[in-house]
């Protein structure tokens, strides 16, 4: 067969390179789009994303290793590659539609939340054809490269495929979030990806298969005709897109749907009411918002201040809150909102209330990450109102940490008030709720001298100040201020204020909170994310709570003990499996995949802490990581012959790098360049190890190209899968950033010891 491939010229090679780049691009496109769709359907948080990534990577691993190894035995490698590409092209847009119909699949109404079990089952089923084929495509393309480039070694070819795939992923990752998703929407981007993949298939059929196969000619014509038909059927796709989206909003009229780089925004109409959804959850109802929430969260902090003039509102401003704050006769309201699309959509569908808020001279709308604004602003404020409901993600948790509360102190005027809400209950505080409240309140207490909590149904309001005046404010003072400022409200009146301030209510809350003792929420130990995860899962997936309880008990010591057990297990298995380096190398690559994924998360999260949530920078950080992998793997292929010692040195380098990360986390260096350096260094080390592992497998003649590619790629994915699952859900929130970096340090040392041991004893 090899001679057959050698007949093909440079155009064939170019076509194959294009196909590999497209494959890499398509993988990242499918991953991002389907993740976004799943997060909308499942009220996304780190756990949902973790389960999604886990299933994605697991299926890719199975595709690369199990399906992929067929490439060694199959004579029709190119034909199978084309078939897999076509299956991917069709299954990806279908998966988008299926994700929007998951509620129907489980026979529940679209308004009902689904739990983690449903997420696991549905993501496994929906991703099956997409991820499995994408994983197999990697191995098959390695095999095709191997056959057409017989003058190069198989490890060289695997690395080449890895590099092309990475190039595709970098371009798609940036282009998708910046151009395609905002312009075309998820479904149309999926169709477009399918079309590009089909065009690639046509090219491959024409160059590789057509000269000798009639079936190939028929396929060529058929796919071309279908592509033309798909292109002209745009109205049909528009309708399908609309109907599938409408599925999520049973009995409501969907009047707007668009994705920004931050979130998916939808607007529905039900009678005269417009509901604005962000990632599938209703955030604003107009013209009549939830008055209890709006009035309590705006007026209480404003009334705690004797004479508020300047106000900062971070998130949740338009849609009633600004209107209420304006009633206090303030001179300035600075309102920060991260996603410009939210503002754009609220302006597109105006109501009397929102128009009033937008047109008020006192209001400055700042399209910026709130935390970055707090770090950079030179303004000072009398009242700061944080509009987030709960620390549901690592990103939002940045507004509930002691470091953030500390940074607020810089921009407060004398007697200023800071206010925010936490999930609560007016009648019973479960352990989950208590811990969630305690960790955040603990963080505020470390930074502010005076704290007051107003417990309530649905949420507790936390009021903090540096001024002693706040503790002397009574309910009756608030009523007097309400009257003095001549404020017209729907809910707040002296009776209601008295009810909220009843001593037995606050005493009950304080007594309940005194029964728990937890660490304060901080940037480096984001406990609140974990407690929030337990709280939301106790609501939706009660049976999953024991698993989280188990994870909650992990400590760095437990993790290191687990690591020793895993290492011993690998050593025993390696002794049983031929006493050679096969398994130690795979273990090394898995640990690299794990470390790469965890470092990525630590770097992105760390960047957000220092510089705020800046989407472009996250894209750049990921691109630097990927560019690093490309450089690392290319350097090995180009400049070295690859050796066992080099692999060990890179392992030690990664261990050393984790110590560097720890030092960095303890330092207060704030440099963007340093983050870019860390991203690219992680990438270089990962890329080098990937190529070295392939090179060693080849030198040792363990397996054929297909099996080697599948095994090494699969090991990398497997490590990444475990890293993705554990880091976001448990490691970072429970043992913290520093503890997690220490774990990687231990992991890489364990890996290098295993390698060295088996090098010494190998047969």
């Amino acid at each position: 067969m090899a001679t057959k491939f050698q007949e093909f010229g440079s155009s064939s090679k170019a076509m194959l390179v294009v196909a590999t780049v497209v494959m890499g691009a398509s993988g990242i496109v499918a991953q991002i789009i389907l993740l976004r769709e799943f997060l909308v359907t499942f009220q996304g948080n780190e756990l949902s994303a973790g389960v999604f990534f886990a299933n994605w990577l697991l299926l890719e691993f199975l595709g690369a290793y199990i399906l992929g190894r067929q490439s060694d035995r199959n004579v029709y490698v190119t034909g199978v590659f084309v078939a897999l590409t076509l299956i991917f092209s069709v299954s990806f847009p279908v998966a988008v539609l299926q994700t929007r119909s998951i509620h129907s699949f489980f026979s529940v109404s679209s308004g009902q939340a689904l739990g983690i079990v449903e997420l696991f089952i549905s993501s496994m089923l929906i991703l099956l054809p997409v991820s499995l084929t994408h994983g197999a495509l990697f191995t098959f393309s390695c095999k095709i490269f191997d056959r057409i480039s017989s003058n190069k070694t198989s490890s060289h070819n695997i690395t080449e495929v890895y590099i092309y795939e990475t190039i595709g992923a970098i371009f798609a990752g940036l282009g998708l979030t910046l151009i395609f998703i905002p312009l075309m929407g998820n479904f149309h981007t999926a169709i477009f990806t399918g079309i590009i993949n089909s065009v690639v298939s046509v090219g491959i059929i024409k160059l590789f298969l057509m000269p000798e196969s009639k079936i190939a000619k028929c396929c060529y014509c058929l796919i071309l005709s279908l592509l033309v038909a798909i292109f002209f059927a745009k109205p049909f796709w528009d309708e399908l897109d609309y109907r599938s989206l409408s599925n999520r909003f049973e009995s409501q009229e969907l009047i707007y749907n668009r994705s920004s780089r931050y979130s998916n925004i939808s607007v529905t109409r039900l009678h005269d009411q417009l509901t604005f959804y962000s990632d599938g959850l209703p955030i604003i109802n107009l013209p009549s918002p939830d008055l209890v929430t709006v009035e309590e969260r705006s007026h209480f902090p404003m009334l705690f201040h004797d004479s508020p003039q300047s106000v900062l509102m971070i998130s949740s401003g338009v849609g009633g809150y600004i209107n209420e704050v304006l009633k206090h006769g303030v001179t300035t309201i600075d309102y920060t909102e991260l996603d410009p699309l939210t503002i754009e959509v609220l302006k597109k569908y105006p109501t009397e209330l929102t128009e009033k808020e937008f047109s008020a001279n006192e209001v400055n709308i700042i399209r910026k990450d709130g935390r970055a604004f707090v770090e950079q602003t030179s303004s000072n404020y009398d009242v700061i109102i944080l509009g987030f409901d709960q620390p549901s993600t690592l990103q939002i948790n940045r507004f509930f940490t002691k470091e953030f509360f500390n940074s607020l102190k810089r921009i407060l005027n004398n007697d200023a008030i800071v206010s925010f809400a936490l999930p609560g209950s007016g009648n019973y505080m479960s352990q989950e709720l208590k811990k969630l409240n305690a960790t955040v309140i603990g963080a505020v207490k470390e930074e502010f001298n005076y704290i007051f909590v107003l417990p309530g149904s649905g949420y507790n309001m936390v009021i903090a100040s540096q001024s002693e005046k706040m503790v002397h404010v009574t309910g009756s003072d608030l009523s007097k201020r309400l009257e003095r400022r001549n404020i017209d409200t729907h809910l707040l009146n002296p009776f209601y204020i008295e009810y909220k301030f009843q001593a037995h209510r606050t005493n009950w809350f304080n007594n309940e909170m005194s029964t728990v003792s937890v660490a304060s929420n901080s940037d480096r130990n984001p406990k609140a994310v974990f407690y929030n995860l337990v709280y939301t899962n106790s609501m939706l997936s009660e049976k999953f709570v024991p698993v989280l309880e188990f994870l909650y008990n992990i400590t760095l010591k437990n993790c290191l003990i687990a690591l020793i057990i895993v290492t011993l297990f690998v050593i025993v298995l390696s002794f049983l499996w031929g006493r050679n380096l096969k398994l130690p190398i795979c273990f090394s690559i898995s640990s690299t995949g794990f470390s790469g994924m965890v470092f990525d998360l630590i770097i992105i999260f760390g960047f957000q802490i220092y510089f705020g949530y800046v989407y472009q920078w996250i894209g750049i950080l990921v691109s630097f990581f990927m560019a690093g992998t490309m450089i690392g793997s290319y350097a090995i292929v180009k400049y070295t012959k690859g050796s066992f010692n080099l692999l060990c040195k890179t392992e030690l380098a990664m261990a050393g790098f984790s110590l560097f990360v720890i030092l960095f986390l303890f330092s207060s260096v704030e440099s963007r360049l340093l983050f870019l350096f860390m991203s690219i260094t992680t990438g270089v080390l990962v890329g080098m190890q990937f190529s070295l592992a392939n090179r060693l497998f080849e030198q040792k003649k363990y397996f054929s190209t297909g099996r080697t590619a599948g095994l090494i790629y699969g090991s990398d994915l497997l490590g990444g899968w475990i890293g993705g699952m554990l880091a976001g859900v448990a490691l970072i929130p429970v043992i913290g950033l520093v503890g997690t970096s220490f774990l990687i340090f231990g992991l890489k040392l364990a890996s290098v010891l295993t390698l060295t041991l088996f090098k010494a004893v190998e047969r």
């Binding site: 679209s110 308004g111 005269d272 809910l491 009776f495 209510r505 231990g746």
Partner: protein
């Protein structure tokens, strides 16, 4: 043979590993006391496992079916419970062929609220009630606001040890005239409600309970002897609405008739949830049924839904829908219709059917003005049914 470079790598790895172990020990001892804090905690949801369920109060209304099986006959489910198992509500356990109420005297929520919060608008407006809630429920509403109580077992929750005497004593000491069983469904903790109610009546206190109403006739009649007023959550008027609670409509309607016939004051709450029970025809049918079976004087409260528990994807109820429901009830001939969870709405108040004057000015659950005098409209003297003393 191990080459020199391999030896160097091995030795350096061991040195680094040893350094790491020392660092970790120092690190965890001095710089990360926060991490060590986990060790002292073994539970995320701390129950009181040392005490376990309580077996001192035998359940009422159950049959022994033989072979260790018992059938609980308190609610429409009539759970057949094998030995060692519990019923749907999680509060009744078969221990050796005897059925026990395992949450008796163990409320998890004890609060003092205004009576309007139930809602209960025609009973001593502006007074306080002692609210009691426990674990468990015989429904599983996807929108339950008290899911952290109702959808949990006693082992999952913290609770107070409050036997009936302690509850009554507490209410008397605090000067609270009414005890209310609310939050979770009182049906699932029937024996506790019954014992408290009986004792409360002996001590001159009033008893109300807020329920889904899916209780069997016999236990209902027995409990009504010691009950002053009941708020029933009518979750809609179709099986679809009741599917959302994994329950049935028919037993609720039957219970409503019995309460009315017994002369116990009853008010009805209908939480209007978009897509679940907001069909206008369904609301009309419901109002007609109420008028025909319970009469036009039963207060009906249409409440605005806001996303909660498992139904966080739904929008809040449009005000128009609530106003439409109000006008339908009016057309049907109901006299006391209010709209809830919309503070400041004029339909939050009570109007006199005789002169259309506002007789109770209510904002959310604050009573700003009460024009009812001795059970009559302060403007025209129209008799307003309810419990006013």
């Amino acid at each position: 043979m191990i080459s020199r470079s391999r030896l160097v790598i091995t030795i350096s790895s061991l040195v680094i590993m040893a350094t790491a172990v020392v660092s970790i020990v120092l690190f965890s001892r001095y710089t990360l006391p926060v991490m060590a804090e986990h060790n002292s905690e073994s539970h995320l949801t701390s129950a009181t496992p040392s005490q376990g369920p309580s077996y001192h109060r035998e359940a009422m209304f159950y049959q022994n079916l033989g072979d260790g099986l018992v059938e609980c006959n308190i609610c429409f489910r009539n759970c057949v419970i094998p030995q060692g198992e519990r019923g749907y509500c999680k509060n009744k356990e078969n221990k050796g062929g005897t059925l026990y109420n395992i949450v008796h005297g163990r409320p998890s929520a004890v609060q003092i609220d205004p009576v309007e919060k139930e809602p209960m608008y025609h009973m001593m407006p502006g007074t306080q009630i002692l609210c009691i809630g426990t674990a468990g429920c015989n429904f599983s509403c996807n929108h339950c606001q008290n899911w952290h109580l109702s959808q949990r077992s006693i082992e999952d929750l913290n609770y107070y040890n409050l036997p009936p005497e302690a509850i009554v004593r507490f209410a008397l000491e605090q000067g609270i005239p009414t005890i209310s069983f609310t939050y979770n469904d009182p049906i699932s903790v029937y024996e506790y409600v019954y014992d408290v109610a009986k004792l409360a009546k002996e001590n001159g206190l009033k008893i109300i309970w807020h329920s889904n109403g899916a209780i069997n006739p016999e236990p209902l009649r027995k409990l009504l002897q010691y009950t002053d007023a009941v708020t029933i959550d009518l979750k809609g008027f179709s099986q679809k609405a009741y599917d959302n609670a994994n329950a049935e409509l028919a037993p609720v309607l039957e219970a409503l008739k019995i309460i009315h016939q017994a002369g116990v004051w009853v008010e009805i709450v209908n939480l209007v949830i978009p897509t679940v029970n907001d069909d206008i025809n369904e609301i009309r049918e419901m109002c007609e049924w109420i008028k025909n079976n319970l009469g036009p004087y039963v207060p009906v409260h249409f409440s605005r839904f806001h996303p909660s528990y498992k139904m966080k994807h739904l929008p809040s109820t449009p005000i128009k829908t609530l106003e439409k429901a109000h006008s339908i009830a009016e057309e049907v001939g109901m006299h006391f219709i209010t709209v809830g969870n919309v503070p400041g709405h004029s339909y939050n108040s009570t109007y006199c059917p005789g002169c259309d004057e506002k007789i109770i000015h209510r904002v959310h659950f604050s009573v700003l003005e009460n024009k009812i005098k001795e059970g009559k409209c302060g403007y025209c003297g129209y008799k307003i049914p309810g419990i006013w003393q």
